[in-house]
């Protein structure tokens, strides 16, 4: 309901989407660990399958635990509806599946998570969905990459791993002019730090695996529909605007209006491709979301302290954290994420590749692993791990050159994080 008295962010983190169970009164969200749901009668079953009634059929399509997670993240992002998926990559697949036809093109910027670069360059090519790369720090390259076949523009709000903050509103203008939706991966910022829909994004995607779940225990992804894009205007998105054969000629945009995109991803992409989230993981991620504000605030505070310290260290050549005054992205950070530039950043070692490999082996408390957004502090040397499949040129473009280390700062006492880095750096040179 669009009324003026929408509850505030911290309240939504705890309450949005969750109402006590109608039969038991359970207050915390129950884990509906079931594959399927009984029908009242044959007509009820037919109505559910025909999308004429709201309701659960089978957990691949929807599940009540998952639904709480979806409504909550959609409310936090300021969207109309969401679809949770098995992983962030699964969510990305379903977005493209709804919007792209074979032979179509899309524009993505190089400042992306390495896994997304791989997904676009290799797996999506097999579907004949063709990427045109651009540079997030030079909007004219995005404009130039748009062609008549372009169906969407894909960016990250804060890019992984480089600490680049992207000009969402500027890129949204280009998307508007091209008549295509702007898709924003908001994983590193979370809606606590940045709400891209307020800056013109049409679709949000998250890896829930990171800060939203926040405890490093569950894979998950989500698609949030802003409800802003007119899918029927030019007929360029037939999945949404044209009669849908597998639903007897139903038109999804006409029928579902402001939630049509989220519904299309659910009743076509999820139904047919199947990357659904487990109810248990949905529950654990809901649990994480309840403390999202508290955690993100502390993540950002700790990160400033550690980034400042590294910035002064003799063996550190540079620190790329948009939260630091004087950083090349600090201005954009103040505009798009004034409460903090997130907790993931990179720094370069004077000792290059060799020193990087040593530091990740020397850390004691800090975990050497391929994730971000955990209560624990994490470190990785991207060029020998996450970005290893990319060429050196691509690595550098993605902010993951040979000398680069990436940190994801946790919620420990910052002096203990610094102490561990201090000894790891000391014995690396």
């Amino acid at each position: 309901m669009s009324s003026d008295d929408t509850p505030h962010f911290d309240t939504l983190c705890i309450h949005a989407g969750a109402q006590p169970d109608p039969t038991t009164g359970a207050r915390a969200t129950p884990i509906y660990q079931t594959t399927s749901f009984v029908f009242d009668d044959v007509d009820h079953a037919a109505s559910l399958f025909g999308l004429q009634a709201f309701g659960n059929i089978y957990t691949r399509i929807m599940n009540p635990t998952q639904a709480v997670l979806e409504e909550r993240i959609a409310a936090l992002e300021g969207g109309t509806a969401a679809l949770a998926c098995a992983s962030g990559h699964g969510a990305q697949l379903l977005i493209f599946h709804a919007l792209m036809e074979p032979g179509d093109e899309f524009v993505a910027v190089g400042q992306l998570y390495g896994g997304s670069i791989n997904q676009f360059n290799h797996s999506f090519k097999k579907f004949d969905w063709n990427v045109n790369w651009a540079d997030a720090t030079d909007l004219s390259t995005i404009e130039k990459a748009v062609t008549p076949k372009t169906k969407l523009i894909f960016i990250e709000s804060i890019a992984n791993p480089g600490g680049v903050v992207v000009d969402i509103a500027g890129i949204s203008k280009i998307a508007r002019a091209a008549g295509v939706p702007l898709v924003v991966d908001n994983t590193l910022a979370t809606p606590y730090l940045c709400r891209p829909i307020e800056h013109g994004a049409d679709i949000i995607v998250h890896s829930l695996t990171k800060f939203i779940g926040g405890h490093g225990n569950s894979m998950g992804g989500v698609i949030v529909d802003a409800g802003t894009f007119n899918w029927s205007r030019e007929g360029r998105y037939p999945t949404l605007s044209e009669p849908c054969e597998s639903y007897h000629g139903l038109k999804l945009h006409e029928t579902f209006g402001p939630i049509a995109f989220a519904i299309a991803c659910r009743v076509l992409g999820m139904r047919d491709l199947g990357p659904c989230i487990s109810p248990m993981n949905a529950f654990l991620i809901i649990q994480g979301m309840e403390t999202l504000s508290l955690r993100m605030k502390k993540h950002c505070e700790n990160t400033m302290v550690v980034a400042d310290w590294l910035n002064e260290h003799k063996d550190v050549a540079w620190v790329s954290y948009a939260g630091l005054p004087g950083d090349r992205h600090n201005k954009l950070a103040q505009k798009y994420c004034p409460q903090g530039a997130g907790a993931v950043f990179t720094f370069g070692l004077r000792g290059g590749y060799e020193a990087g490999v040593k530091v990740v082996s020397n850390v004691e408390m800090i975990s050497h692993l391929a994730n971000i957004g955990d209560v624990r502090t994490l470190i990785i040397h991207p060029s020998s791990t996450t970005h290893r499949q990319l060429s050196e040129h691509q690595q550098i473009a993605a902010g993951a050159g040979p000398d680069v280390l990436r940190l994801s700062i946790g919620l420990e006492d910052p002096s203990d994080i610094i102490k561990d880095l201090e000894q790891a750096l000391a014995s690396a040179v």
Binding site: M1, S2, S3, D4, T6, P7, T11, L12, H15, A16, G17, Q19, P20, D21, P22, T23, G25, R27, F37, V38, D40, H44, S47, G50, L51, Q52, A53, F54, G55, N56, M62, P64, Q66, A67, V68, E70, E71, A74, A75, G79, T80, A81, A82, L83, A84, P243, Y247, H248, G249, L250, K251, E254, T255, G257, P258, I259, A262, I263, R266
Partner: protein, 174 residues
């Protein structure tokens, strides 16, 4: 009254009070949005009177179809307009004439001049909304789709009769 946003209380009162809804532009085609809405509202036990001159005399979902609002042989509480914004002009005047208490224009249908006339005549007006969606937001069913209702409540949802997977907008205890 402004019609960009509606309070939860305003929509709830309308959907709790009305019993008979004349649905103008009701379709017999079972993949049309009007058919979806009609089928859903019937399960919530509203009395739905379909209006569609091309289907007049036939039945849609077991309900007799009338050719126009003025031919309906029973009192109508609400007129639900499944036509375009232009057609809503004359239909609003007809709704006033037959003594309806509410004019409801569907998603993407908005006619501010007609709304003003209806309000002057004492009717309530809702525009650019779907009663099925609004019912779902108030009952809690909307959230099953991962969609945002904008509601927060620590009260148990209310089951509709003895059905499963069907929630009601009735106030608990009423």
């Amino acid at each position: 009254m402004q019609h960009d946003t509606y309070s939860e209380a305003y929509i709830r009162k309308i959907l709790q009070d009305v019993k008979t809804i004349a649905m103008v532009g009701a379709s017999a085609n079972d993949v049309r949005p009007s058919y979806f809405a009609m089928k859903y509202l019937l399960t919530k036990e509203y009395n739905i009177v379909p209006v569609n001159p091309r289907e007049a005399g036939r039945e849609i979902l077991g309900q007799k179809v009338f050719s126009s609002l003025s031919e309906i042989d029973q009192p109508v509480d609400m007129v639900d307009i499944f036509r375009n914004s232009e057609a809503a002009d004359a239909l609003t005047d007809e709704a006033i004439a037959i003594g309806a208490k509410v004019v409801w224009m569907q998603l993407r249908v908005r006619n501010d001049a007609a709304a003003e006339r209806a309000e002057k005549a004492g009717l309530k007006v809702v525009m650019d909304r779907c009663p099925k969606m609004e019912y779902g937001k108030l009952s809690g069913e909307w959230g099953w789709l991962g969609a945002v209702s904008g509601r927060i409540s620590s009260k148990r949802a209310v089951l509709f009769g003895n059905r499963i997977q069907s929630l009601s907008i009735a106030t608990r205890g009423s």
